[in-house]
Symmetry: C2
Subunit: 242 residues, 2 copies
């Protein structure tokens, strides 16, 4: 079968996968993906052929998956979280027209905005934005503009890739932009290692979020003006009259 | 067990549920929720007690779930899509402090932004916003401001509740706002009845989206300036150099 499934497997353990994702992995002859994500699923299918590629080789990974499928195999390209949200579905679909004999199916999964929000409460209970602070592929000016627009629109905000070794102060820079428009008392939170060993969460104000150190396994949530802490959770009300 | 699980069951059929969601439904003594969603899961657990409430009785539904849990039962409050995104996690957590003996666990699920995007390709492959056009609980001016900010930030946009019988022209009004800032050629799409009988999808420009008739089972996607149609799919590139 000349087919690539691009599969979102959720945040970590097998319990976060959908039945559809499990079925796609089951049907695949070969499991492809970033090394860390292949480790997550290899245990479920110890006998399957795997093909792991290191970070930053996203296009090579997609091309390899399509070439393997063209040779007559069913390939699952494994993504953490969702297949599409900052995932491999985009670049794979951009390359796919070069491989007209290969069928592509996108299998969605629980992205960190959802799994992280569930750990904190319901910070994304009303309109929200998702912004990545990674400037590897996006000019910082574009990121800054989006943070401003998220604040001006009074959206709840979920921040992916808030920091890395080379970008240690990016979360602080983002908070400084948001603090031009939002109260320092805005309810915020972060989660780290969602659904994996070492899972942590913290609820705090925007002023205190600015002082936190995030890493690449952290997802950050910044509330709208209506977001509140209640009973140890962060909630953005939809507007029901209690 | 005095516990409420707020469970996101994904868009429709059982194959979109996570293993964690299935386990929560399994452990529940009582399944609560909006009538339509209870129908979706009742078939899986024909012997469980159910408690269905009609639309618009969200707070009553949450209070009933908490009261049932306080009486010593494990309750699953079933939400379509995710538990938190316009779901019951928010109002339930707002009421929960009145029920200190009840434990609450939020179980995330695949929301329509993800399941709908997968059917279209990867329209949310970069930073994005999610906005509901329902003005039942949100003033229209706030919705309009958020649409403007989403356009000014050049986000991809996913629109929930684009129309209902009483709000037949809301999608058109939203498109008119977006067209002040965005090209009429912007790549867009919609999906209807995701994961259910009668599933449909359509890819079209923003100018043509303005002429479409949506209903409450439709989810709409509006691209950023970089979103493209390729090979019959909508893709918002992350920025990899092909």
């Amino acid at each position: 079968m000349n087919k690539v499934y691009v599969v979102g497997v959720g945040p970590g353990g097998a319990e976060f996968m959908t039945v559809q994702a499990r079925a796609a992995l089951e049907q695949a002859d070969v499991l492809c993906g970033y090394t860390t994500y292949i480790e997550l699923v290899r245990g479920l299918y110890p006998d399957k052929e795997t093909c792991a590629t290191p970070m930053r080789q996203e296009l090579e990974r997609c091309r390899q998956a399509l070439e393997t499928a063209r040779s007559g195999k069913a390939v699952a390209l494994v993504c953490s979280g969702d297949a599409g949200i900052y995932g491999m579905a985009g670049p794979l679909l951009e390359l796919a027209p070069e491989f007209p004999e290969v069928e592509v199916e996108i299998v969605p999964g629980v992205t960190a905005a959802l799994s992280g929000a569930a750990l904190l409460g319901a910070p994304l209970g009303h309109d929200f934005c998702v912004v990545s602070l990674s400037d590897l592929l996006t000019p910082w000016e574009v990121i800054e503009k989006r943070l401003e627009c998220a604040a001006l629109g009074d959206f709840s905000l979920c921040i992916y890739n808030p920091a890395s070794n080379k970008r240690a102060d990016y979360l602080q820079r983002a908070c400084d932009i948001l603090l031009r428009y939002k109260s320092p008392e805005t309810a915020c939170g972060w989660v780290r290692n969602i659904g994996r060993e070492g899972q942590e969460r913290k609820i705090l104000t925007l002023a205190r979020l600015r002082e936190e150190r995030a890493d690449m396994f952290t997802t950050v949530f910044v509330g709208s003006s209506t977001t509140r802490e209640t009973g140890g959770r962060v909630v953005t009300p939809r507007g029901y009259r209690l």
